[in-house]
Subunit: 194 residues, 4 copies
DNA sequence: GATGAATGAGTGTTCATTCAT
DNA sequence: CATGAATGAACACTCATTCAT
């Protein structure tokens, strides 16, 4: 049993237990006790590695955000052609990556949004993420469209992606990511096609 | 002092206090005590008119849904011309009505979505609402487009409306409903314009 | 079982349970659970009548202070002769009244002093009490002595009273209040006798 | 790095950290974690050098007591004249030595008294100290007064010293040790002057 | 119809202590 | 000698709910 250097291991372990707990019982009932039991550790350990429950929630959200960023960045790095359409497609695909459309992630996102309305730290995280999606999109539209038009198109595409994700998450049925991506890509083509 | 017929008055009073409480302290901290204090009544009264706290939450959500339905229906009844575009515009406008984009409503909606992932009763409410938006939209697209295309367009517009609303709610800034409606309407025109 | 107007009854009941708990297990171990059990009520009731544990501690200390004030005031009101010596004797007797030299009160006083070093609200209470003893004494010395001498004598008598009380409390043996009062009164006579 | 002979150094280090912690956050909040952090060592080290937290508290109190004893003894050894008055003055001065009237010491003493009411080990320490002050004083009075009178005077002076110290500690203002010593010495003169 | 007294389970958090390294 | 990972009990406090009045 290793007794030193446990910090990164335990942190990851607890973040995953949090996602699992939110998936199974919902954020409202994901008490420290439940999370600790799922991680197979004692309650007190959470205060040891995260200051308090908020610290754990914050770290969990940061984890999801980072995952989203990584997925999108990787897809864009792997592109063969450097066209706006290709980049936008990669962005769309990143947002519907498996790491974002599984039950645990979807429930956590929704709970995160609700909580961000009243917790400044989460709100800041949320704004950074929202802005990243918008500006990444805008950047690409800007290569093909005049500034004002690019902005409007970016706002539309960002909203469409979030809306498709949201309705998919709320539906309760299996997430048809294929169709969602097709609708989003069609929007891209319409905007670029002028 | 009227001892009869208080039910509808009290129920409305408590629903409004709930929205107010959610607006001010967030759903997580909107305890029965807080809501009762805001309504100027005793704690116990809530069990009297709603079975329990869940009953009050459910009623509050139903209230928001009804309001949304009424706003949309009224706008459509007042239409001069019976074109798909006009109906879709009315639907869009209804979704960005003041009753849906104020702080209390936005916070309650977000909390509702998060909760609906784990509470069957709320999930059912949520699905009904989602489906109503989709089928209302689809119905109008159907008048101008072949079935399959109408379905896809409807899915897109519904997602775009929800996404625009979501990003507006989460931004924390004033909600630019004008721009949102313009983007949604432009999407309608693109879909119909083929 | 009365269901209204319980507040003063419960408050008194809880204050007495606090004194009893401090007597039996010490302030450090006088948890809310212990106090509630001694009062024969549930834990939650304490938050209902006092905001929190600090509120209960504060109320308990206020109770002891009020008791001390009442005992002293009554003795002075019952005086036959209006001499400084008589008043000072009454003040001395009040400070060694049974309400102040029982185990529960002594332990609570000591815990109160220790806590007052770090809790502003308790410190304020403490200063008011200290000052009252001093100024009551000073007032009487002033009738027989020049101002500066009265002040010094008052400081000395107040300290002597507190010191006698303190050593009596800490001794662990039965409190010889007779001897304590004799020593204090002798000090009075020495000061007045010049 | 010395691996042997650390014990006295570490013990002293931890006792001083305890006094510092009590000064800054109060005995109630002076947890092992806080004390260890102030000493710049790990939590576990405390169990290593003191059996447990009580051991550390006990050692800290013993340290204060020893300091008091040393200060008094040194002053008496340095006396030019071997009169009762000179010895009593030295005892008084020892009790108002800087090592006893600094914030950390005063807070620790008060916490110690409160705790001694319920912890036999601390109570024993406390009684030894109380008795030493009394018997040292009594011894000197005995050289000038009949036994019974010496005892009463000793009780009075011991109480006066403790009372002056107590009121000084609780006042929250700067400790006027000069005045306190003058009052105590005056009491000595009155007792001897008969 | 309406109150508010009362409950008690549940929460997040703190903390002294243990122990493998 | 020294660390810090880990525990688990204890704590103050919150809260939805019940019910006598």
């Amino acid at each position: 049993m290793p007794k030193v250097g446990m910090q990164p291991i335990r942190r990851q372990q607890l973040i995953e237990a949090t996602l699992q707990a939110v998936d199974q019982v919902g954020m409202a009932d994901a008490s420290i006790g439940v999370i600790a039991r799922m991680a197979g550790v004692s309650n007190g350990i959470i205060s040891h590695y995260f200051q308090d429950k908020n610290g754990l929630i914050f770290a969990t959200m940061s984890h999801l955000l980072t995952e989203l960023m990584i997925q999108t960045a990787e897809r864009r790095r792997a592109l063969r052609e450097n066209t706006p359409r290709a980049h936008l497609q990669a962005i769309i695909e990143g947002n519907f990556d498996a790491s974002q459309v599984n039950n645990a992630a979807m429930k956590t996102w929704l709970a995160f949004w609700a909580a961000s309305m009243h917790q400044p730290a989460l709100h800041r995280l949320q704004r950074i993420n929202d802005h990243r999606l918008y500006s990444n999109i805008c950047c690409q539209f800007r290569r093909a469209l005049p500034l004002e038009q690019a902005r409007v198109s970016a706002r539309g595409l960002a909203a469409l992606i979030d809306g498709l994700w949201l309705r998919g998450a709320l539906s309760g049925d299996a997430f048809d990511t294929e169709q969602a991506q097709r609708i989003a890509l069609e929007y891209v083509d319409q905007q670029l096609g002028r």
